[in-house]
Amino acid sequence: MIRESFIVLLSHWRRKPLQLIMLLLGLALATALWSAVQAINGEARASYARAAAVVGQDRLESLVQSDGSRFSQQIYVDLRRAGWLVSPIIEGEKRIGGERIRIIGIDPLTLPPQARQVDVMGAGIGLKNFITPPGILVTSPETAQRLEGAALPPVAVVDTLPPGTAMTDIGIAQSLLEVEGQVSRLLLWPTQPASAKPLEETAPGLIRRQPAVESDLSRLTDSFHLNLTAFGFLAFAVGIFIVHSAIGLAFEQRRAVFRTLRALGLPLRSLVILLAAELMAFALFSGLAGVALGYGVAWALLPDVAASLRGLYGAEVPGTLTIRPSVWLAGIAIAVAGTMVSAAGGLWRLWNMPLLAPARPRAWGLASERAMRLQALSGIALMVVTGALTQVGSGLVAGFAALAALLLGSALLLPPLLSSLLKLGSRTARSVLAQWFWADTRQQLPGLSLALMALLLALSANAGVGTMVSSFRLTFTGWLDQRLASELYVTARNQDEAQAMRDWLVPRSDAVLPIWNAETRVEGQPVQVFGIVDHATYRDNWPMLAQVPDVWDRIAASEAVLLNEQLARRSGLGLGDPVALSNGLSLPVAGIFSDYGNPKGQVIVSNDLLVKNFPDANRLRYAVRIDPAKAARLADDLRTAFALPLENVIDQASVKSFSLRIFDRTFAVTAALNVLTLGVAALAIFASLLTLSGMRLPQLAPVWAMGLTRRHLAGLELLRSIALAALTMIVAIPVGIGLSWMLLAVVNVEAFGWRLPLHLFPLDWVRLAIFALLAAGVAAAVPALRLARIPPAQLLKVFANES
């Protein structure tokens, strides 16, 4: 009996293949976007974990200089001789063939077991090859590919290292980085012999640093991934609307079958279980398909994500995906959960349905006025929550909670709002057809409201994120003009060349400004310190957000420092606050400047101060001021004179276009997800319209009978969808502006550390509106076309007497 009943239930889908496709497609799409985001995040997080786990930094304490600078390896030997179990690490970045590679030198003999990602003794490397010149660079497969052809030690490939990192013997690394006899830090073995001499006696300059449980990278990029997750969830929610409509329709259309089966003796419990099993099978199938599809999406998006992360945070994420069981499990789980949530209402109604309930589908999803009012009240309540959160809340989570409240609130408010708008519209109706059009549209609202809410979410997210990105870009472009005031930027290959280059440039240009920098820590964060000389380039152009009156004089006199905005925000430092730089050097903040696109904190001091306090500062870069007309010529001459590679002399325009390219790639993912979400929303409308079109016949047939052609009716149906989309778009614009304001003023500040002004781009909205109307039109086209071509016999069935 169960088997037969199941076959009867399933036969519905054979007769309604389109419905089945919608259900499976909706579920698969929802799962796909969600899984894509999960796969991308998983890949990135695994990469951060690998980066964090490099030489066990996530698990081992280490000994460092308080300012993070390198120190003599004799201190290492002294500590070992004093009984300490420590292992030396040298770290640094090296440009190899245009690629910046992080080089980590280890001593494989003393490396604690927790720090051994690379089996140096293992096949393919071998201790002897590793430690004796020329040594071996161990890298990820991807990095190995990037390094191909560079004049370097032989490369060995492992999967355990993050991209952009090369591990090698400490001796080899010291030569590569030109820091003979220097170490960056010492890893402490987890347990030390009781007999070791006190640390302060042997290495007074060093402090113990706790293992970085959460790496700088994962902290910095958290917001980015939260962002992606939010998008994935949005897409999933939108997709679930489709599933909900398809399941709802299938339930309504099978009421007669349910009644018959029960009348024939199938227990209600069995019926419900059968239906749940049927849906579970669909969920599993679509879940699997969705995750597979999600991997496709992730695979397509990952290069952009990787570029974004590199550009925004300097985080290296590989461009290839690993198949993670967790993603599959989570994807299928969310597909099943989504299906069950979508079906809960239907199953509940079935559970409570009297055996002899009328088999005629009643107007599906018809909401009473009271329900509408309740929905409006909930929406208003959520709006209040949104306002409260932006006023009172702080932090990224509050920011996203506010965003969620805003979106959900506006989605809930949409149907009552549209209902009111349509009521208003019907007042303007002159003709009876117009009157009917408005009234009928209003009546369709309950059935379409879920899809329209999905559309609203997609449109607001689009308008909001679009406004945010455009505002950001506008600000960024203006900022680049200020920040990149010099005509040429040159980088020498070594110290001697830098000096010679400067001597060569001085008589040939208006000014040669050093761009020297060093790494240090401020308030526990890694920051770059730049030294600048006093010059009009800075006085006239530097993009200051806040400053004391005589800021440049004070910088020139080495009396104060400048901070970039993100450092000021993260550390809570303001004008006049002292900043501890290193070796007891502490200077007040004289200015805060905007520094978009930079993941790191930055401190600017006078060049004298930099040279004095950071002897190992990088002194290879200069900015050159010259008449722009002569810049290209000078660049050529310079390249020739020093046989410099192309990338060592860059003109202003190249830097700008490079920066903008990075910027655009950064938001390419967001844009892609946006479009996909909108596509899913369009599909939701399509599914809903298709669902409704079957139930529309009894409502449309009398109008047809009273003298409207089928084509006329179809045209009205099309117009109705477009009108609803247009009204939804109108609502979406203020929601989108609210969204972008929150992104710029709350989320960005938390995520990136900078606050941007909001600019409005009405033309973008027009474009979006056209897209939305097009989407709605396309979605409505199929049902409308079907209506236009429906055989009159089918319409006549509406009038057929039931007797």
């Binding site: 030997v77 002897k128 009781a194």
Partner: protein, 351 residues
Amino acid sequence: MKAEALLLFLALSTPALAQGFAGMGEDAEGFSVPQAGTELVFPRDHGAHPDFRIEWWYLTANLEAADGTDYGVQWTLFRSALAPSEGQGWQSPQLWMGHAALTSAEKHRSAERLSRGGIGQAGVVEQPFAATIDDWHMTSRAVASADSLSSIDLGASGQDFSFTLKLDAMGPLVLQGDRGYSVKSAEGQASYYYSQPFYEVAGTLKLLEGDVAVTGKAWFDHEWSSQPLGADQTGWDWFSFHFDSGEKLMGFRLRDSAGGFTSATWINADGRAEPQAPGALQVTPLEFAEVAGRSLPVRWQVKLPDKKLDVSTRALNPNSWMDTQVSYWEGPVRIEGTHAGRGYVEMTGYE
């Protein structure tokens, strides 16, 4: 003969770990090879020989606390060369490894240290003699006229123990084999090998339970080679005995697919060494025990008919397992039978 060092270093320096003991007989390409008839010169030969592949300074001590509790101490510094040369800084191809152990009847404690040569973390200085790795040391305090090893200070530390010992030799250095040329197989593999078996020891063991003052006897070996094992030799059993009579015995058996290769040196109380013919020493396991997941002899019968020696050994702690990167059994024993005394046994290659 502490040949497990060879294994360790070959394991470190080549991907040959899986080859096990068979890998030890490989060619000594570029490295010096011991030659019979070469005279050892001191203090020069107390120092390191970087042109040989492997070398070790190995000290075992049978100690006793005032209350009669037995202890054993092991202190070893191994050298292994990736290339037959010395280099500056990290480029040096010389690798160093320390093993230390402190054994009592209840517990066997061990520690291990590794270091690169060339940076000052580990090494051996000839004059005044000092062998060090990290804070572990074996330092001469002999007067200039005496052999630099006649008086030494010894120290090492691990997680749960450390020791500082003063050692004074009561007899001369003993050259093993043919004036220090020690043959290891019938095919002629050999090493340079001498010992100082006459140390009287006094010092302190630092345990978690507290300090223990101890006295006793110690045995020192210095051996270097490039190719000490035959290709089919799978492991060895090594014995160093201090008899109550003042006589000493060093003997070993290298196990192979056939009957094995044994060698021994009888050392008279006055320091006069009597190398025994290959095969004169007979060793037989008497009792096996499960140690670290494998079956090992914990009692041996050792016979040297020419000296009317027929003794059996009893391990102070059958679980004297060196849980180091390459592991082996090394521990103090009591000797019973025709001669009574104490000593050390080492067993490697039991899988």
